[in-house]
Structures are given as C-alpha cells and as structure tokens.
Symmetry: D2
Subunit: 335 residues, 4 copies
C-alpha cells in the first residue's frame, strides 16, 4: 500500500483524496492546504492527518509520495521540494505557466532520483486508452490523422481565467499531450487560430481566446487537428479519432445512462454528456493512481512524466506564436 | 426483360408500377383497375396500356406476369385466373382473409404449373436480410430467440379496418411470415393477446385489436416474440432481433438521414423513423421484383410462395384462437 | 451517518460492504459470515469489526441497520430477527424461495415496526430510472407495452443452480419486479414458456430452464413481455422499453467505454457490454444504499419493500404454473 | 416537364440520365458523348435520342436545358455555348481547373441571361441539408465552428489523377463549397497542409497530395476545419459538424442497412458505409435535379450557381498557396 498525501484541497484535490482513500493499493497519508479549514474538512472526512503545511508533508516519514493539486504557481517549487525529500510525485498539470521556470526545474532535477508523474488524466480514459491500444495493436495500420475535439461545458468564472494561463496553456494543453500520446511521435510544426466568439469583451480584456483550431504535423508527415471551445452546452465534449491505412478508431463521449426518448418529432434523444471532468474521467483519475502505484512499486519510469509536461507546454507556446503570426511555427523555434 | 402488368392502381399498385417501370430487368406491360380513371392516370404517367379489365390482362400475349395489388377479396380469383392463363404471379398479401378460401385455392392449383410469389416484402429488406444471412452463415450459432417489433406509425382510416380482416390477419401477418423466415422452422404453438388500448371504442365496435403480443414455439424449442401496435408516433418501428448461442444480430430502424442535434437538455436527437412502408421498405420492394424476375428466368420456385402465404394466415388464425381462449394453441388445431 | 452492518461476505456481500464504506451517508458498522475467514478478511480490509455471528450483529447497539446478503434460506429468519432487534433491514432478493415461508414471514411482521427494503437494484439503475421517470412525467403518454430483455452473460456454475431456485425465482424475479415497477399497476395474468436450449442435459436433470419468454397483462390491459437467456456471449444484456401513446423510452446497455472500430469489413464495432451485475449496476447498488438511508432518516416506507419481494415471487410462481399448463394463469390462482 | 439533355455518358453522366428519366418533373431529352457507342447505349436504355454531338443538342428545339457531365476541360466551353443557345445549364463541378479560364468565362457571361447551376450535390444531401436548416432555424445559436470530414473510400486509378487537377481542386473542392454553404459567410483566410501518406511514390511523381487538413476563418471569426483522405477502407466517410453557442448538429454517415452484430468480442458491429458517391448521395443527386427544375420554372437564381463554383476554386487555389508557403493565406491574394 503506497502512502500518498495530497497537497491542495480544492475541487480536484478533494477528488484525488477520495480516490486515494478508496483505491485498493493506496492509503491516504494526509492532506494539507494553505486554507486550513479546507484541509481540516477533507482530513476529517477521511479520518486522516491535516498537515500544517507542505513542508510538514515532505518531512513526514509516513508519506511515501505526494499528489500536488495546489495552485499552478506552486507546482515547480513543490516538485523540487518533494524530490529533495525523496517523495515520489504525482503532479497536476501544468508544471508551470512559464516555460523558463519549467526548464529551470528540469535543470535542477538533473542527476536526482526524481520520480514525477504528470496528471494528464486523459491518457488513462478507458475509451481513449482503448483507441491508443488498438492503434498500437495494428487495428488501423499506419496512423495518418489524429482529430481531437475538446470542448468544456461552460465558461469558467473570471477568477479562474485570471490565473489559468490562457486557453492553450490551461485547457488545450491536455489535448497537446493527448495528441503526442496518440501520434506516437513529436509534432514538429504547429498552426493555430484563437477566436473570441463566446465572450468577446472578456476575451479582449484578458487577451485570451475562447475557441480555437490547431493543426500539427510530425516529421513523418502525420497530421493532427484539435478543435476546442469553452462552451459546449450539450455537455463536456471529448472525442479522439485516429485514422490509418487500414481502419479508424474513435473514442466518443459518455452519457450518464443510455436512456433514449422517441416521440412525434424525434427519435434516439439521449441525455447530455457527463459534465464535467470529474464525472467524465472518473475511471481515468482512478487508473492514473493505479499507474502511479505500479511505476513506484516496479521502479519504472512514470508515464506521462515531467518531460511530457514540458513538451505539452512547448506546443502551447508554439500555438500562441502561430496564432500571433499566422504561420506554421516549428516547435524548435520555441522549445 | 420480364413484361409485368399491374392489377390495381391504389397506393401500393402505383408504387409497384413505378418500381417495375424503373427496374432494369422488367418492363411495365400495362395496368388495370376497376376504377378506370386511376388506371388511365397510372398508364399515362408511364406511357403504357390501361387494360380494360383483369381478363384483358390475362388474355394479352404481351404480358408475361402479373402483379396483383387489388383488394384482398379478389386475390384468390385473380391468382387462379392468372395461372389458367399461364402468367407468373406476384401477389400482394394476404391471399384471402378466409383460410377455407385459401385452402380451396391451393386445391385448385394442384397439378397446375402455378408460379406464385407472395408479397411479403420484409424478407427482402436489406437489414432484415442481412440478419437472416448472418444467422445462416453461423454468426450467432444456434438460434434460440426471435424478437420482432412491428408498429405502424398511426391508425389507418376506419374504412380500411372494415375490410382489412383484423390486426392479426392484416398487419401481424407480415410478422408471422418474417418469424417463419427467421426461425427457419415452423412454429408449432402460438400464444397471443390482443388489446384495445389506442381506440377502445372503435376496437370494441369492430371487435378488433390495436395492440398485441405474441409468443410462439417451434418443435425444437426455438422461441419467438412479436409485439405490435397501430400507433408509433415516432415513426414506423420495424425491428428484428435474432439471439443465438454465439451471438445476436439486430436489424434496426431507418431514418431519412443521420442528422443529430445536441443542445442544453439533450444529445443525439435524431429525426423520426421513415414513415411509412413505401419509404421504409423501398429497397425491399425493389429487391422483391428482382427476386421474382430471377425465379421466373431461372425456372426456380418463387420464395416466399403460395404456401408461405397460407401458413402465415394459419398463424394468424391460431393467434385469434389463443387470444380468445387464453392458452397456447397448437398450429395443427387450426390448419 | 447510518451505521450499517453486512451479513454475508460472499461476492455480493463484499460489494455491499465496500459500497457502504465508501458511501458519504453510511458507516460500515461491521460484517459477519458463517465462514469466519471471509468475515475477517472483509472486516480487516475496511478496518471494521468482524462480528461472531448474526445474533451478535442484531445485539449490537452500534448497528442501526443490517444488509442481508447471506444464502437465501436464511433471509426470512434474519429479517424476523433483525426486526425484533429493531434494526432497519436491506435484504437481498429473494425473501425466500418458498411462497409459504414468505407469507408466514409477512404474517409475523404484521403489527411490528418492520422497516424492510428489498434489494431489487435495477429500479435504481440511472437508465432504467430515467425511463421510469420520463414515463411518469408524461413523456410517452399512456403506457401500453413494457418489453424487458434480460440475459446473463454466461451459465452459472452447477453448484449455483442447485440452490438458486430455478430460472423464474432466481433470475427472472428481478424482471418481474422491474415489470411491476415500470407498469405502475399489478399484472393480473401471466403466460410463460421455459426452454432448455443452452444446456439441455443439465436443465433436464435439474428440471430447470435456461431460456424463457413471458407475457403479462394488467387489469387495465397493459401488456408486458420479458425475454431471458442464461447466455449472452456479447455481455450482460439488460434493456427496458416502455411504449406509450405519445412516445417510447428505451433504457439500453452500457459498455465499458465508447471506443468504436472501423475497418474494411465493418463500422461502429464496439466493446462487449459490461459484465456482470457488479459492473453494470454499479451506480444502482450505490443509489440503493442512498434510498435506504433516505427512507430511514425520513421515516418513510422503504421502496421496494417486503411486499414487492413477495409479489415478484408470486409472479414467478405464476410463470411456473403457466409453463407447466400452457395457459394464461391468473396471479390470483397462486398468491 | 423540363426537357433535359445530358452531355457526357461516363459514370456520372449515366447516373444523371437515369435520374432525369425517373424524375417526375423532367424528361430525358437525349444524350451525347464523344464516344458514340456510349451515347448510343445510354440512349437506347432510355429510349431517347443519341445526339450527334453537343452542338446538335444546343441546336435542338426539343431541349430546354443541358446537364454537362463531360470531361472538365470542356465545361467552360459548353457552358458558354449552352448559354448562347438559350439553354439552362446544370454543370458538374469544377467549371475549369484554371481560375483564369473560369474568370474569362464569367466575363463572357456578363450581361447574358445565363442560367447556370453547379453540381455541388452535397448541399442537397438530406442529412447535410437538415444540419444547415437546423442552424438557420436557430437550433445551435450563433455558429462558431464547422468541421468537415471527407474521405474517399479508395485511391482512384492513375489515369484519373492525371487529369483531375489535384486533391484540392478535384476532391476538396466539394468541401470548400460545403464549408461556404454551412458557414453562411465567406472564408477570408485559408491554411492547408497536404500529405503524401497513402502512396508517396505516386504523389511525389504527380506532385499531388493524398491526405490533407485545412483551417479557414471568416471575417466574423467563424472557424472551419476540413480533413480529407483518399482512402477510408471502412467506406465513404462524409461528415459535417456545426458547433454553435446553443448547440451542435452533426450530419453523419449512411450505411446500407441497420443490421448490427453482437458476439463474444464485440457489440454493435455494423456494415461498411455506403460506397461510393452514387450510393451515398443518391437522394442528393435527385434533389439537385428537383432544385434545378424549381429554379428554371420559377425564374429564380439557381443555387449553387456559377459564382459558387468560382469561389470554391479560389479556396482551392488558396489552399495550394498555403500548403506551399506554410502560412495563413488571405483569399484576396488569389482571387
């Protein structure tokens, strides 16, 4: 049983704490949060320790590993501290909004025994994973095109935007990682457009986008498209399509149930899609924990790892550059 | 090119006339109808002869075969006359509403060179046919259960009811034929209930049913269920399910297109099903003509044939008896 | 927090223990099993008490309610003992295989403060529930037909058959309950056929059936069909269809994910259905616990309750009688 | 009844001839082809005149309109000749592979009474049309994104490539038109990549692409993605997705029937998609004729018209320029 402590008791930290508590191969070794009442609440719900702060967690001999679910600007510091303390790390994305900070972190981790898994949960979704596995098993021949649809069910609150880092770094970063995972090779060129279609006034003010389309190409010529929107009123829209020489696999959306309604003006009407990531990726978050335990116990490299987190951020930077300059940007220009 | 004349220029006769005119292996050799203006109209639309009456058709040396689409009570007489005239026959179901009349007709046809195909179009539907073929090809192992859903989109006019012969003889007879086709062996026992749920007053007056459920069993123990309704507001509901030891095949409904709508309260909302038989079974009616030409040209027995028409009617009679007596009725009791 | 103890640590008892432990509104108050090592194993996995025996559970002041998941022949005794001890009861189906024993139990419970919920989990499945709710909300008008498809993924071991009570009492009893729930009124007549198609030799020896079809009718004329099989090789097949005057709702099957494969000979190929009830009805088992807590806390009658368990068994008895006599059996003949 | 003659008796010309012959509002007024035996064969199949050549058609008083289905390099000349002869024109796409030639043709048509409909059949597909209509009717709010998937079932023969004009001018041109139709406003910028993934040697030799991705943006910021491939082994893959503020509509693929297979390793396995355009767009080709007749009879502007053909070609030119230069190309740069 791996003893995992959770740093950060916000929405996603709470979810992880519950998952760890319920997982057959992990023990929730405690939680912490800069907002003490939150930590106390989560700790008492699970009957575990509310650590004073992150340092107390790192110092504890009863903690084997930490799951970092704090605000983004603390991730890199906590990663470094955890590694110094000899704790395995499962860190929510992104490592940092600044590529320079991420690169500095990478530099400092060199030569250490750092064990870092990144929280790109979508790789563990049963449907996405089955698509990836089928492609690996030859079910579609040579992969030619990857198409990812990624739409959040609704606009986040303004406060979220102010610290999230922008559409490509915050939201599409998941899809950049998924694209790399599915492509099986690195995108070399990125084209992107960002739109201000849902809330133009807010987007203008924040200099952010709410809608985007991306095209990427790898060295061998594989093509990838990502389309994103902050507002899919019909639910969280998460699709992956892999097209190859001998077939196609598609990982589609999930509904809360399979009840369909038929009446005078329609057939097959179903419920909205699962909303939001906690519901949609329930199995994925759980499998992510399982993969982390596996890697720790077997002493194998965690996957996705730190470098995957860095590379997804590089693609986000390339996307911003492309959106600004209206051209195919080589990834090597920004990395 | 087979020269086919059409007897009867009502809704289904007109459809057959157009199909025959457009079919690459048939020539529309003329039409007739007791209501002369109807015959004239259809004839002129296709630039063919409007025969004076059925006798004129039978007498014509320019007619190889006849498609009988007149009112039910004329079917048996026309079959007999056509056979006497040496014409091949494609006759709309049912042969007659009276089993005694059908048996008498069968008696008279004995020893003749009668070539009679019955218009059980559903056997030729691409989906139902593919299900049947898959089962024959071993895709489901040994067949155990057949489930047929058969619901008309809406109540026919009262005038229709008065001559149609009742739910089991008129509507479910298609499903009795389909059940025999799919089962690959004869039902030996029939249980049926009939309900008066949609228009109880009318059904009471006509002593008819608008809703029914049937269970049948073959000698080897295969089970079959048919459920029917006169009113499916979401369109013509026509499904066949074959369940076996190693798999299942399902032939589902058809929509006019695959446009689906997604919005705040729903996903996957589609158009109503094709409504009605002329649209839903378009390919089936066409394939029926093709099978008829094939059989005539190759001198093989038409299928479904006269005896299939008779046996479906026997099952309808058994269903009535069962609905009246509340018990499993042996088919041998009524045939 | 309701303190719930679990009697019986077999497959389903373990599942319930884990659900209760993870449920936000319940505490697992301990477990017991006649096979002590099983109880100890489950108790230690959850860090709770392994009670000596059921009597110890009933005597404990730290137990508010019991979930009975022991072998069937103990259910009625435990229900009676739990009620005497003032514990609320959530009992797995069936109450007993003998209707006489169930009726005797009902007699003894008269005048007591018995609080008994029956484990008909399917009523709580999100899809089935949404269908029921839609029908109640008027989405299909007047209900005319209920069609239930219920097929287990594979034959249970012989040892299971020997004590399970036969197809109608053991397996179809779930569907009888679901039928009552969906119909919203009592079936008055039952017709059933049972087949020995999957393993005829074993079924002959055990005088049991492996395949069945049922038709039922209520006083107002509503029709219900249930078809069952012990072997659906494509996964646990659990469908409910409600047909009414202004629409239809269908609760369909669930897959582990929505990955579909397209290749030269096919499109839309998906994974097998969730197999088996623990996976398929995961949310239902959880919601069942929630409904139980609700009823206890609010002091309302549990639903489904003891009488629902009794009535489902009556329908099973009627089905056996019908299968033996080949006729529509009135429920009043057996109850 | 509009008297329509067909120029060109190749695959698509034959299809049009049959459609015109069977259409209730048109008469096939004759056919012609530079290869006389082809013309004779089609003419005799329909019992119509085989004209000596196109001039004879234009000269005939018995011809109201012509459908041009000859090789591409003749289209512009025939359009001009037909307009001079006062015939209405329904012309297969493209008008010409050379934008200069198209512009010259446009110049010559100025001031004439030219009535020209372009054969962009996909606008008339029931599913695509229903998506377009739903968007127009407000079912998705403001349109933000259009995603078009367009994959041919297999590589055409080499001879086809040599005269077809290349992937963007020949195949994607349909999607450029569909994008304009769906967007409801003009794309202003085009980004495109072309790949040589299916048959790299042939594509290198022909300097053509077999796989592509396109992104376009309109003045108001609407985004459009098109992905194409010459080889979808699972059938002709034709999808359109419209995403807006209050919903999404998707027009999906069509199968020959709805038979699905369920077995040990899979569920829901369906037949390959309809292959190829004659089957998939059967209803569309028919509706195209109907729209043409409507426009002629009502004296309204045909849609899609000549300018739609020109604009789709402009987008193809922009795509080539973008693929060569790796940047967002403004449509005004090429038109």
């Amino acid at each position: 049983m791996l003893r995992l402590a959770v740093l950060g008791c916000g929405r996603i930290g709470r979810m992880h704490a519950a998952n760890i508590a319920g997982h057959p191969r992990t023990v929730l070794a405690g939680v912490t949060d800069v907002h003490r009442p939150s930590a106390n609440e989560v700790a008492s719900a699970h009957g575990v320790t509310a650590f004073e702060d992150a340092d107390a967690v790192f110092a504890s001999p009863d903690v084997d590993a930490v799951l970092i679910a704090t605000v983004t600007e603390t991730h890199a510091d906590y990663i470094e501290a955890a590694v110094r303390a000899g704790k395995a790390v499962l860190c929510e994305k992104p490592i940092d909004l600044s590529l320079a900070r991420v690169n500095a972190c990478a530099e400092r981790l060199k030569g250490t025994n750092a064990f870092i898994q990144l929280g790109f949960n979508r790789r563990f979704d049963p449907g996405h994973r089955a698509a990836w596995q089928a492609a690996r098993d030859g079910a579609i021949g040579d992969l030619h095109q990857v198409i990812i649809t990624s739409r959040d069910p609704g606009m986040p609150p303004r406060s979220y935007y102010e610290s999230a880092g922008g559409l490509f770094r915050d939201m599409v970063i998941h899809d950049f990682d998924l694209a790399r995972f599915m492509l099986g090779e690195e995108p070399e060129e990125v084209f992107a457009i960002g739109g201000r279609l849902i809330d133009p006034a807010l987007m203008d003010e924040l200099e952010d986008f709410d809608t985007s389309m991306v095209v990427m190409r790898t060295a061998s010529g594989k093509q990838c498209h990502i389309n994103t929107s902050r507002t899919a009123v019909y639910g969280y829209d998460q699709r992956v399509e892999l097209m190859g020489t001998t077939g196609m696999v598609v990982s589609g959306n999930r509904k809360p149930h399979e009840m369909h309604h038929y009446a005078e003006p329609h057939t097959e009407r179903a419920a909205p899609y699962l909303n939001f990531f906690i519901e949609r990726y329930r199995e994925a978050f759980d499998a992510e924990i399982g993969a982390f335990v596996n890697a720790v116990e077997q002493g194998i490299a965690p996957s996705p790892g730190f470098e995957d987190g860095r590379k997804a951020l590089v693609l986000a930077e390339a996307a911003y550059k492309s959106a600004a300059e209206g051209r195919f940007v080589r990834v090597s220009e920004v990395s």
